[in-house]
């Protein structure tokens, strides 16, 4: 499902963010990527999203060689991924409903499909009552739920979350993690980048720890202690 084979990423300014990384994540897995700030975690998500190209090595997502994608192929590839970020990245002048509908519209969904799917996914994240509200009227946790709903509305096989709880208090963060786990239980492969030690400890999932661009630990059910 997600396969990094000898991946190295050196940015144009010479920084080596990833140094010969290897890992494999199977379909349906739930994996944490942890590590201190600047370790290279976000570089992994950028490579998966095809925002950056690997300097060397191969990245296979769903059997697609991401490094070899042409510019015009990228949108279609990205439609297989759900993405969630620390800063939510909602469109400020659109309602919650329209933010989610937009992700479908972009892919050419019909009005009928949109009307059916959006309420579904809103109730999944527990925001059925907030469809007509704009993002700035929501709490951080609610905004992240909207972002999750948007990521999931097209039923992507893979969900990538880069520090999804980075801006949230612990109680709210737990709620978001619970949602990620629910999504995973429905069969979606979930890759979560995080700083939150408590959460990782509590959830007992596979943990890949990165330090200075190298994987220093990869344990199934691993316990996170070095954060």
């Amino acid at each position: 499902m997600i396969f990094f084979n000898n991946v190295t990423k050196q940015y144009d300014n010479g920084t080596i963010a990833l140094d010969n990384i290897n890992f494999f994540i199977d379909k349906g897995e739930f994996v944490f990527i942890v590590g201190s700030s600047g370790a290279g975690k976000s570089t992994i998500t950028k490579l998966i999203l095809c925002e950056e190209k690997p300097t060397s090595g191969t990245i296979l997502i769903n059997g697609i060689d991401v490094g070899g994608l042409k510019h015009r192929e990228m949108p279609y590839y990205r439609r297989q991924l759900g993405m969630v970020f620390q800063d939510f990245r909602l469109l400020p002048n659109k309602t919650v409903y329209d933010n989610i509908a937009f992700a479908m519209q972009v892919r050419g969904a019909t009005n009928r499909e949109i009307r059916r799917a959006v309420p579904n996914v809103l109730s999944m994240v527990g925001l059925s009552g907030k469809a007509k509200v704009r993002p700035h009227e929501l709490s951080g946790g609610e905004q992240q739920r909207v972002a999750l709903a948007r990521a999931m509305v097209n039923n992507p096989p893979v969900l990538i979350a880069d520090e999804p709880t980075g801006n949230l208090d612990p109680a709210t963060a737990d709620g978001i993690m619970q949602l990620l786990e629910d999504i995973n239980k429905r069969g979606t492969t979930v890759l979560t980048v995080t700083h939150a030690k408590d959460i990782v400890n509590k959830m007992k999932k596979r943990v890949v720890e990165i330090s200075n661009g190298k994987i220093i630990r990869d344990e199934v059910g691993g316990y996170c202690c070095e954060l």
Partner: protein, 296 residues
């Protein structure tokens, strides 16, 4: 493409046109400047072609016969004319007919013609039209050599003058138009660049939810088209007012037998061309900008 998308594209395009107030205004002004020149160019071209077709259709020379000529001489001139290969038709106009024509033309009250019935100063003449207008000069010099032919006149001079003036105006307005077209595209692309920059966050979000370049650029292209469209409307207003004024000052008849179009008969051609050109300018302006700032 769904109706929802079309609505979205247009709404976003209009919104950023409005939000971009000053830059949008500047773009509209340059586009309309360019299109005013385009309109002038079009009007001159159309009228030049129109005039040329009238001249060709009605081209004939008139040759006057010496006063001393008798009817045998006139007959001789006629057969000489008929023997010239390029002559198409011949019409004899007698002194009397010529006088009648004058009378009609000046409403019969032209005082200087009074009492001339008996002492007609006009001459007998032939009106001659040609088969091939490109051989006009050769044929005229052949005709001039015929005995008893006093003088040959034609409207060639008038035509040459008209063509001379209009081609110069055509040339100048064409190059000014090209110049302003380049400036328009430049300014529109700058306006769109500012929009793209102001909305780069949004553009980024669109990219990671899987929007194609086409989908992302559509609102920006529509913004450019709106600029072109409003510029075209402004230009249309200016050009049609100016042309209406020109006609009211100069009239529809520039020279005897040479008419120009009135406003209503060129209105839709002009309107369509200006709108079309405006849309092309607007779309290419945003295209230039998007190519540079979006597809990277």
């Amino acid at each position: 493409m769904s109706f929802r998308s079309i609505k979205y594209f247009i709404k976003e395009g209009v919104k950023s046109f409005a939000l971009n107030g000053l830059m949008s205004m500047a773009s509209v002004v340059t586009v309309s400047l360019c299109l005013v020149l385009f309109g002038v160019y079009l009007l001159f071209s159309m009228n030049l072609n129109y005039a040329a077709s009238q001249v060709e259709a009605g081209y004939e020379i008139q040759l006057y016969i010496e006063e001393t000529a008798d009817s045998d001489d006139i007959q001789a001139v006629k057969s000489a004319l008929m023997s010239i290969e390029n002559v198409n038709s011949i019409e004899f106009v007698s002194k009397g007919e010529a006088l009648k024509e004058w009378n009609e033309k000046f409403g019969g009250d032209a005082e200087f013609l009074e009492g001339l019935e008996d002492d007609n100063p006009l001459r007998d003449s032939f009106k001659v039209s040609f088969k091939d207008l490109s051989l006009t000069e050769e044929t005229i010099s052949q005709i001039e050599k015929i005995k008893m032919v006093a003088k040959v006149t034609n409207n060639q001079v008038v035509v040459d003058k008209l063509v001379g003036i209009t081609t110069n105006v055509q040339k100048v307005s064409f190059w000014l138009m090209v110049f302003f077209a380049v400036i328009s595209v430049f300014i529109i692309s700058n306006t769109i660049r500012i929009t793209v920059f102001a909305r780069r966050r949004e553009v980024n979000i669109m990219k990671f939810v899987g929007a194609t370049d086409w989908f992302i650029s559509c609102p920006f292209v529509i913004e450019g088209i709106i600029i072109g469209f409003i510029g075209a409307l402004t230009a249309m207003l200016i050009v049609s007012q100016a042309y209406g004024y020109f006609i009211s000052e100069v009239g529809l008849v520039i020279e005897e037998n040479i008419n120009i179009y009135d406003l209503s008969s060129v209105f839709w051609v002009l309107f369509g061309s200006l709108i079309g050109m405006g849309v092309v300018l607007g779309a290419s302006g945003s295209g230039v900008s998007l190519r540079k700032h979006l597809y990277v």
